[in-house]
Symmetry: none
Subunit: 190 residues, 4 copies
DNA sequence: AATGAATGAGCTTTCATTCAT
DNA sequence: TATGAATGAAAGCTCATTCAT
């Protein structure tokens, strides 16, 4: 029996859910796993969140988006940092989008990923792209970010897994410039 | 006659397994689904393959690799074509790697994807990259391919979903050149 | 004041319990339903009544019995009126006995129905029956009343569901007379 | 492990289901109870019947109706015999309709009872009733049969519980004649 | 060797009930 | 005392897997 503090318990359940869902995906995670991690009874999940799906939605709902704060030419660099160097401890060390891709068997989840990718990444990049087919180029750049996230944390290829932001900087600059048609910085100030 | 049937049945099971696993992922696919698709009893899966996991491994083992046939400067273009335009009917229309990522909840699968990505894509690209950190650059390019495959078929972002090879050609050339440090073609002959 | 509230809350819980149990039966009614209807926390049910079963017993304990007030020859007519035309709003519009039959899965409840039927209906009718096997005839008449209640409100057969007391009057007189061996009225004064 | 005979197992499950549902009602019966009674695993219920509700429907579907075979004036007597003296061992010793009333919390079941009562009892009796409001009188007689069944086996009132067909014969004749407006026999040949 | 009946563990979810505050 | 957080035992149902025939 726990601290009998509703908000704290909800928070612990969300925390545990985030980690499990991120690491193992929706189907491979049972509500008992999550409740066990949180140290409470599984029944509380249903009392507090209604059902497993809603817990998932709530647990993966808080993708932060402060990407727009800062100089335009550093946007891509900020995105790379966000995708692979930010502290996503709560999502098992991975970017939430990469984590959610684990659960992409369900169309619902795919739709949420799509919206997230489009509103957060593609639309921001689209504004920077010169010329026509800006949307396509923005998506191609987003694809790169997603691919980097996956290769680094899901697949764990050797070089990417141990690279740091400085290692990536020149390549970020090169690819971003090539796709957006304008010079971009590979590093960030922060 | 007996042997024939056995082999034919195994083949049908593998075929069905490939499609189901690709489209719905490992967890969301039941052995009964697969057996049903193949028109045989589920018991045969255990007789022939031992268990579900081994069926999965066998079903996803045949990623073909004729990528090296052809001019070097078209390698990346061939890879893009392979990732998103080849006829992966047997894998539900997606590249096998993308399909396998659906089932990446299990470390086993991740390992297999890693091996595949490294031996087939990274190593081939590494040979083309000039200068040091060739491996990292090869991985970054592989990441792009993987990301494109995912955004196109899993996430289905609008522009990528309807792009064809010609739309991508100039961007392929630009990015590949930027990362590999040498001029690359965006199209293929074939 | 404290006591007042406690009593008022108990009363509201009993009220809500009566309706739910009557309409949906014991098993299909949850203590949270009842507490919700009464606007209080479910815990109070256990504080006040001990457990669900005792709440049920208490909620269904007050079957009124003013059937004996009035002329003897109108007794059966009064019973019919009581069974199907009285205002059993508190029991979901049905006679409490019919409502309790919904919960007759438990022997306890059956016993309580038996006592109620025997003390309230059978014994009153037995006094009116001429000749021997008076008890049997009284029970047969009680059976009719129960059957009418059930067909009317549980099963909802078409003719009975829309009949009023006048439609039934001649048949009540005929059957009562046939079973009791003496002339009975089919209508009541009230 | 049992005899590995699908039909025999299905039959045993239906048998066990009939008894449990009849005695305890739908809600109070668990699929594990039924499977336990039948000596097999509960999973088979879902394999063979789909779900609990369909098992219930199938288990209670076989209400026989040979009531029309025989002389018209003995119809009511045959019905009484059917309701309370036939060997309903498979339904826990009660007439299936009475047994189904235990599960009348669900509108589905009520509807099935209504149809059964109307097509089997009311319509047969309606043909015998003279004059107008024949339907109402047929329903009133059906109500009596239902009431008798309930008082005898659910409530178990003393006189009815130990009566035999001969004890009831004169009363059957009297009530049937009173409601149908024509002489009826209280006994049957068979 | 092949079929499909049977199994049992585990899933999400509900519910009566307890107990800390 | 009263609130509501927490619990644990079931419930219906699915699934990979085994094994008699």
């Amino acid at each position: 029996m726990r601290k009998r503090d509703r908000e704290a318990t909800k928070a612990r359940l969300l925390e545990a859910a985030r980690l499990r869902f991120a690491r193992e995906g929706y189907d491979a995670t049972s509500v008992r796993d999550i409740a066990g991690d949180a140290g409470v009874d599984a029944g509380l999940i249903f009392r507090y969140f209604g059902n497993k799906k809603r817990l998932f939605d709530e647990a993966t709902a808080d993708i932060p988006a402060d990407l727009l704060d800062g100089p335009e030419e550093e946007l891509v660099a900020r995105m790379v940092r966000s995708v692979i160097f930010a502290d996503w401890t709560r999502y098992g060390g991975e970017h939430p989008l990469v984590a959610m891709l684990r659960s992409s068997a369900h169309e619902d989840t795919r739709q949420r990923i799509r919206e997230e990718v489009c509103t957060t990444y593609v639309s921001a990049l689209e504004n920077l792209a010169e010329g026509d087919d800006a949307e396509l180029r923005a998506e191609l750049l987003s694809a790169w970010l997603v691919g980097i996230g996956i290769l680094r944390s899901v697949v764990a290829t050797p070089a990417l897994a141990k690279a740091d932001l400085d290692d990536l900087a020149p390549h970020v600059a090169a690819v971003a410039a090539g796709l957006l048609g304008r010079p971009m910085s590979g590093t960030t100030d922060a």
